[in-house]
Amino acid sequence: MKLSNIRNFSIIAHIDHGKSTLADRFLEKTNSMPKKKIAEEQVLDQMDLERERGITIKSHPVRMYYVLGDEEYELHLIDTPGHVDFSYEVSRSLAACEGAILVVDATQGIEAQTLANYNLALENGLTLIPVINKIDLPGAEVERVKRQLIDSLGFLEEEILLVSAKEGIGIDHLLRAIIDRIPSPKGDLNKSLEALIFDAYFDLYRGVVVYTRIFNGIVRKGMNIKMMSTGAVYEVDEVGYFSFGLHPTESLMAGEVGYIIANIKNIKDAQVGDTITDANSPVEKPLPGFKRIKPMVYCGLFPQEPNQYEDLRESLEKLQLNDPALVFEPENSEALGPGFRCGFLGTLHMEIVEERLEREYGVKLVATAPNVVYRVHTKDGNILEINNPSQFPNYGLIEKVEEPYVKVSIISPSDFIGPIMELCLGKRGTLIEMNYIDPMKVVFIYELPLSEVIFDFFDKLKSVTRGYASLDYEPIGFKESDLVRLEILVKGETVDALSIIVHRDEAERRGREIVKKLRTLIPRQLFEIPLQAAVNGKIIARENIPPLKKNVLQKCYGGDVTRKKKLLEKQKEGKKRLKQIGQVEVPQEAFLAILKSE
């Protein structure tokens, strides 16, 4: 295919604005797959979890052919992940394109991820086609959304296309616009190979399948390629393109999107954003934008049953084969026994991993509350990166502590300005900017500690705005904070898995909340259980669980025996889910109690 007939593009949108349905329509219009499959809806979201949550986690590229006039065009649609946790992956997918379709729901208007994706696309120099979707719905406010696109994002009225992906309205126009407006890729076949990795997955039989966009040169079977970040060299086994499965071809050429299989055993050797070049005549420097993936959020994962430790390790290893962003190392908790400290891109990534471990691998987990990475400067001049609150150094050794901050954008109807500002203030936020998208809709830009955002920010935001606000954020680096370790003592013993890092001003309130919550979660036992919260060895909150004095079946006669036995069995089942900490039996929920504040 000549370059002028190739288009590489993405669809970007806020969640539920109709990205996947639109992708389905493209596949249908271009006859890229049998009709029957389309009926199953949203064929690009392949994982069960993706379908259930209505979000895309992995990238799903697909090649389509479309005839316009006398010309046949090769369209590469790269479906990108749809969550802030995966924004780096999104940015690399966008870097593989020349253009993107920005989809906005006619009933919702611009939301936080619309804005975030718009900015990512602009950073990558993409040509954008603004599309208002769901125009067939009764609640559609086409004119209002048009004004938002014109006033806030600077589009021209005539650029905006009106579509109903569900009803198939406006799809032909949109396909034509893709060909007319999005530039064809530029590239030089005669230059050295220069290809971007924008995703990868591990196949049990073939090794790593690398998703790539070729910028210059050509890649074909038998060639030696080099990963520029690691210098590792591989011999290419197969190249091809995606169209519901892998389709091998002779070669991939500058401008094309496709895959490379090169007997790569470890997915970590195919890092998203890295540049592939010809090992025999490498280019001088890699493509811009490469970042090593670093976990943003950590938590401890422990098997509920100690004998499932090995199962958990194996399961994590298997998940990691396909998920280079997941990191883990053994952790031995005094309270929960052997387990793993795991790092994730964000809380959604964490939830997905936990859910897959339980669902696909059958490991029952106890998860501790998530935390961010803290940078502790010690008095003797060292800088420690702490990803586990129980390893936070003692107060006396600390010079200063820094924590990661994020730039948060919140879009909300203007009715909720007050509650949002109050919420952000309570979360140690600094207002950077506030603008009106239209008279009824505001966008806030805040700087907030990431720890506050992963704590219960989203739930709170939803609740103070009755579900109308949307949220997106990006990391902006570390800032100094007055942070302390809040320890929880159960019957006089510090429970490592219950320690958290909090701002000094918040320590007392959180401490009080946590012991209060624990008081309701820990069942009474034969002895009194003092619950204490402490900072630097000083007790700041205390509750008592009085001893259990009475728990007996009052009546048990002939007809009752079977029923009463069931009651006792139920009580016993409840006890099984308890973890023994010292003398005290603590339920799993207790470890998550510190996740939410009242």
Binding site: K549, N551, V552, L553, G559, T562
Partner: protein, 331 residues
């Protein structure tokens, strides 16, 4: 249902529900049928459960003439407000009357049921109820702490915040006072919720706690013969039809393995003050509970919930109130 030839019946119990509302002629038919088909022990215990407000002097005389020699009266409380809270239809006066005429008619073996832990009950009101019944010459008393059972109106009221449950500390205080008062009147506890004067332990209920055989008749009635437990349909219409067509009204049966039977013997036997004999369980089932549950027993002894004496294990005073923790170890 047939009795094995040669089985001796040592107790008959008319109860569960309110058998005292049954017309006496019908009751007579039932009793005649039992007498005709069973070998009765000389010292037969024959109990009827009655509710205040459903009996009179004539009825009680009739019961005595039928051979009924023990009466169990569902008094519950002698405070009208408390009775209303419990949803009982009788008054405290009717309750006292029932007790008085039972004595008058000549019943020598009288049992009363009481409930403590009722919302708004006080130490004083409980003391009044307890002393009033004890003064009238009982031989047996069952005392239950109020339980909010799911599905009952009281449970609903509790969840809606319409009743104030008694604080646990008060409930425990009442429990302790009760032990002292009963002691003064010559009653001793022989089962978690049951007290009797010497020799008046309910023989009938002891069969349940000792895991001995019993036959139940009527809708919902349960039976246990050896290691087989079964129950009749709870549907009255279905029950009548099945029996009339000469068919069994049984709808459920459970065969206990020796291990299950052994565990049941322990759980039920531990309800008794005398506890349970490990060697007796072994003789009945071939299961050595002492060996299989040795760690559990150690733990419970350490927690002072049970004590060991010879080959018996039994609840301590503390364990009596925390029985579920003990039973749970033998499931």
């Amino acid at each position: 249902m047939r009795l094995n030839k040669g089985s001796m019946i040592k107790s008959i119990y008319l109860g569960g529900g309110t058998p005292s509302i049954l017309p006496v002629e019908d009751l007579e038919k039932i009793v005649d049928t039992i007498y005709k088909s069973a070998n009765l022990e000389e010292s037969l215990e024959f109990t009827i459960e009655v509710n205040p407000g459903t009996i009179n002097m004539d009825k009680l005389r009739f019961y005595r003439n039928l051979g009924i020699n023990r009466i169990s009266i569902g008094v519950q409380s002698l405070v009208d407000e408390e009775l209303r809270t419990l949803g009982r239809i009788h008054s405290s006066k009717e309750a006292l009357d029932a007790l008085d005429i039972s004595v008058k008619v000549g019943f020598e073996n009288i049992s009363v049921d009481l409930i403590y832990g009722i919302p708004n009950q006080t130490i004083e009101s409980w003391g009044k109820t307890l002393e009033s019944v004890l003064k009238r010459g009982l031989t047996h008393i069952s005392i239950y702490g109020l339980i909010y059972e799911p599905g009952t109106p009281l449970y609903k009221f509790l969840n809606r915040g319409m009743v104030n449950p008694m604080p646990e500390s008060l409930e425990l205080e009442i429990f302790n006072i009760t032990q002292e008062v009963l002691d003064r009147y010559g009653f001793f506890w022989y089962e978690i919720s049951n007290y009797a004067k010497d020799g008046y332990e309910c023989r009938h209920n002891l069969t349940y706690w000792k895991g001995e055989d019993y036959l139940g008749f009527g809708p919902s009635a349960h039976s246990l013969i050896g290691n087989v437990r079964n129950s009749n349909t709870p549907n009255i219409k279905a029950y009548v039809e099945l029996v009339n067509r000469g068919k069994s009204p049984k709808i459920w049966e459970d065969r206990l393995s020796p291990f299950e039977k052994a565990k049941e013997l322990v759980i039920l036997g531990l309800r008794l003050r005398e506890g349970v004999s490990i060697s007796e369980v072994y003789m009945k089932t071939g299961i050595d509970i002492g060996k299989i549950f040795s760690q559990n027993i150690e733990k419970l002894v350490f927690q002072q919930l049970i004590y060991r004496q010879d080959d018996r294990i039994a609840l301590t005073d503390k364990g009596r109130l925390l029985g579920n923790l003990v039973f749970g170890e033998f499931l």
